[in-house]
Symmetry: C2
Subunit: 338 residues, 2 copies
């Protein structure tokens, strides 16, 4: 910029004024400066600018698992909306690990991001402290955390799972295995509570032995499903609390030598683009990923521009049960087993 000023024979202040059109500059100087810029090939240094302005026009985005299609769909739309608004996105991934999560958040805050969008891997004190200390515009997505009182956009998890469970009950299933996400996540807890509520509404008992923790991971879900399927009273249906885990469940069913839906009915949280073309066509709960991403991005943009109310806004969206054919009415043979 100093060079530009020299070439144009003006002061840096004037150059800055034309670049940011922050002050009136005579047409003559303006053109001289613009020409000098073109000649030198000058690009303003964003770092120096950030230092002076205290703003980076970057928002940190942290998801629990970059490999999960649900998150990538959401990331894609957030990315797009923020980019349109002139913000860059710094993406991190905690791999469902709280330690890693804290490291990454620290890294983002360290880099002075202007805002934060987080799908937390789990409640933890450090996270709370860091967010409070940083006091940045923050929005939680997918999952909430006790004690983090910020904007958020989440699903009505309880209701969605309640619907799905009611559907399975309606097909005559009485023993429905449940592969849960980690219970230190809000989604883990809420989804399970939906299952429980459906059972209760149907006047059925809640059996601990039908619940297994799959930690939202394929591998853990596989082990969990194997246990469920080899237990003395095998469930006639299994509900998986997310998309990654249902793959593990299906592998378990195959490895045990059973078939879905003939021997075991399966339903799952999160939809797949290929679900209605590969068999069994999975019955799932589809999340409005587009809306989630848009709203989250908008919430953070609103706060960034100071257009938000003081009190945190909490958006709750609804899932949609997509019935395909991975669930079947309970057969006589299955009844006999149970």
């Amino acid at each position: 910029m100093l060079d530009v000023a020299k070439v144009a024979g003006v002061s840096v202040a004037t150059v800055s004024a034309v670049i940011n059109s922050s002050a009136p500059v005579s047409p003559e100087l303006r053109s001289r400066i613009e020409q000098a810029i073109g000649q030198i090939g000058y690009k303003r240094n964003a770092i120096a600018r950030s230092l002076k302005l205290g703003t980076t026009r970057t928002v940190g985005l942290m998801v629990a698992d970059i490999t999960n299609p649900f998150f990538t769909d959401v990331v894609a739309v957030i990315q797009e909306v923020l980019h349109r608004a002139g913000y860059a996105v710094m993406l991190c991934c905690s791999d469902e690990d709280v330690i890693l999560q804290d490291e990454q958040i620290a890294l983002l805050i360290d880099r002075s991001v202007d805002g934060l969008i987080i799908a937390p891997a789990g409640d933890d004190e450090t996270l709370k402290r860091m967010i409070a200390a940083a006091s940045l515009p923050t929005v939680l997505i997918d999952r909430l955390c006790d004690g983090i009182d910020t904007d958020a956009v989440v699903l009505d998890n309880r209701r969605a799972v309640q619907d799905a469970t009611r559907y399975m009950l309606g097909l005559g299933h009485r023993r429905i295995g449940y592969i849960s996400g980690a219970l230190d996540t809000s989604t883990g807890r809420e989804r399970l509570s939906g299952y429980r509520a459906a059972l209760e509404a149907a006047g059925l008992p809640f059996e601990e032995s039908l619940i297994r923790i799959g930690n939202f991971r394929e591998k853990d879900a596989y082990t969990a499903a194997i246990q469920l399927l080899t237990s003395p009273e095998r469930p006639t249906g299994i509900f998986s609390a997310n998309n990654l885990m249902v793959i593990g469940v299906m592998k378990a069913i195959r490895d045990i030598g059973l078939r879905c839906p003939d021997d075991v009915s399966v339903a799952s949280f999160d939809d797949f683009p290929w679900a209605d073309v590969f068999q069994p066509h999975l019955t799932t709960i589809a999340q409005p990923v587009q809306a989630i991403g848009e709203q989250a991005a908008q919430l953070v943009l609103d706060r960034l521009s100071g257009a938000s109310p003081e009190t945190p806004r909490r958006l709750v969206l609804q899932g949609r049960l997509v019935i395909r054919d991975s669930c079947r009415p309970v057969s006589l043979a299955q009844r006999a087993i149970a």
Copy 2:
């Protein structure tokens, strides 16, 4: 930092010395300073540091489609390796769009990333110019660009597709439809050339009418497959040049009222974690995603630390044909049609 210095009763230079252990400091002062840091809760400002040092410890990562599981797998490992090395990752996505790609690269360079890892959406002049002008450590992944002469890690696309095509030919298929990626990508061209080479080796003619461009996108591939399947001489097999497109192909087959593999055999580039549990079990070419990610990250890290040779390094990895059961020997009935 000034505050810390005041509290500890020393100069900022000394504080800086203890923070970076860049100069010897007496134990007494060191502990006074450390205490002051704790008391104030001081965190060093990375922006100011970047300005002074001219380094951001951030690398830009740009992929063509964040929604594609192949890319997310690679992104996940790059992320992890770079994080371990103390670098942050700034992720962007071009959505297979050259214009968007240029915007995003400009944004990354503008933010002064220290290095760049790019899976280009396509050859284009602007990209070349920007990369040359920025003269940053750059590594291309998945796809090469004419005229961008940097480190790179790619697959032996030609050979992989040649293997797969030979396999289909071995099953008796003579009319194999080919859904191609965009031909302004190196992967688009190389994969197609593998198909062509296999045909040639088998002494069969290459028919333009069997080739359709699906642009690596599900939607375009769907349209392309519909055309192929409704043509007078319907192919008995279809090869899809990536994972997203094979979904479109399967949807087309279903919508036309055909079945895979009974009526049409299908094989595809890129593997899926669920491929051997949902039917039809897709025959695919699996890419070594872990290795691709690790090598790419390592290449950029090496250059960042100045440990690289002057000449660009080009790593070519091999794919692996995973035979499942979406391809079947050509039946008599199919022969009759053709």
